[in-house]
């Protein structure tokens, strides 16, 4: 019974959300551009 309850208990989301990962990626890219690692991004 207790095992069943444990299995049915909502799993707490760990780590970052997709939103937060997207922001993190954008910040890392901005930092790399600022540091001069990416000098020119073609389009």
């Amino acid at each position: 019974m207790s095992e069943q309850r444990q299995a049915l208990a909502p799993v707490k989301q760990r780590g970052f959300s997709i939103d937060a990962w997207a922001v993190l990626l954008a910040f890392v890219l901005a930092a790399l551009v600022r540091a001069g690692v990416f000098k020119h991004i073609p389009w």
Partner: protein, 361 residues
């Protein structure tokens, strides 16, 4: 043997495997998006060389059309699906990077005007969709989901509200299908209406951001008109997204007061959980750009990174839209959504035209 089964059941998903799982789909997004860019550059040239009259079709539309063609003919094979589903991730990263193209003063000025328009739009849209849901006899929670989806920000708002008001999965999938189908239609109808009414980039961009529900489709509908309209569509839509927490909280209170959802405990925590973090990222990058943290060349590089991220998003919009699957979701929610969306599009167009006169856009 038993222990090995137990280990297999509790083993956490390997992050490296998860990453590898999305690679094929992300490559497909990039291939479809880049093919759109190549078609934009070459089809016009080819038509001109052969003296054909052919409209100049932007890469945005090519990428969406290619994605739609794949999704609605051969379909997206299983191996690509996880990666294709990352299109919203690229959208959010693209919006944050787009912050470099806005000075904070412009954001506050445009965002302030947008906020006022968004406030009127949200109240009007929720009231009208609730009325329509009652007229068509939809389930009250399905009506709430459709109202939030059309008033605030499409799929994210529906998912956030579903959890908060404890709505059925089925209601949620009906509402999402209706919003996505109507979002796909808006990609083709909005630019045509904008051109027919000779809307300038500013008015059209704000209108797309106000009336198109899903963020990816709002960005695409804006970019299909012009680059400047795309920027304003994203800014206006981001303002709408920023209000998601308040609307979901209001619905959570409403359903909790009727004893059909759990009461909200810590309101500040609830609002923070629902607040889209990419809005903050956008404001931070915009503040840094305003403070001259980036040189002119660096701002150009960030703007191009943002364009690449949007390119993946636009390819994803086409690839994940399957009209056959959407049509299976039932006619009534779609009819309510369609009538509501047409009314909201007309209402917001009126708002934008009035604002254009007042603010001299």
């Amino acid at each position: 043997m038993a222990s090995s089964i137990a280990v297999a059941q509790v083993r956490p998903v390997n992050p490296a495997l998860q990453f590898l799982k999305i690679v094929p789909g992300v490559l497909l997004l990039a291939a479809v998006g880049y093919a759109g860019k190549l078609l934009e550059a070459n089809v016009g040239k080819y038509a001109k060389a052969h003296h054909w009259t052919f409209p100049n079709i932007e890469y945005v539309l090519w990428a969406i059309l290619l994605g739609l063609a794949i999704s609605n003919t051969v379909g997206v094979p299983e191996i690509f699906r996880a990666g294709v589903a990352t299109y919203e991730f690229w959208l959010k990263a693209g919006i944050v990077l787009l912050g470099a193209r806005f000075l904070l003063g412009d954001v506050l000025k445009l965002g302030g005007t947008s906020l006022a328009l968004v406030g009127i739009e949200i109240v009007g849209a929720i009231a009208f969709m609730t009325f329509l849901g009652r007229v068509f006899g939809l389930k009250p929670k399905l009506t709430s989901l459709l109202a939030v989806g059309s008033a605030v920000c499409g799929v994210s708002a529906i998912i956030a509200t579903q959890g908060a008001i404890e709505a059925d999965e089925e209601d949620s999938s009906f509402a999402i299908a209706a919003i996505l189908a109507l979002g796909a239609l808006s990609l083709f109808t909005f630019p045509l209406i904008g051109h027919a009414l000779h809307l300038n980039d500013h008015a059209y961009g704000v209108w797309s951001g106000l009336a198109v529900d899903n963020t990816a489709e709002a960005a695409a509908a804006g970019a299909l008109y012009s680059d400047a309209a795309g920027k304003l569509a994203v800014l206006t839509k981001t303002t709408r997204n920023a209000l998601i927490g308040f609307v979901v909280l209001a619905y959570a209170f409403y359903w909790a007061s009727r004893g059909q959802a759990q009461a909200v405990g810590n309101k500040a925590k609830f609002l923070w959980q629902k607040f889209p973090k990419f809005v903050l990222g956008f404001l931070i990058i915009s503040t840094l750009a305003t403070a001259a943290f980036f040189s002119k060349e660096q701002i150009g590089a960030l703007a191009n990174l943002s364009r690449w991220a949007f390119l993946l998003t636009f390819a994803g919009v086409g690839l994940r839209t399957n009209f056959k699957a959407l049509s299976k979701q039932g006619l009534k929610p779609f009819a309510v959504g369609a009538i509501g969306e047409v009314a909201i599009a007309g209402f917001t167009l009126g708002l934008v035209l009035a604002a254009q006169r007042i603010f001299g856009w």
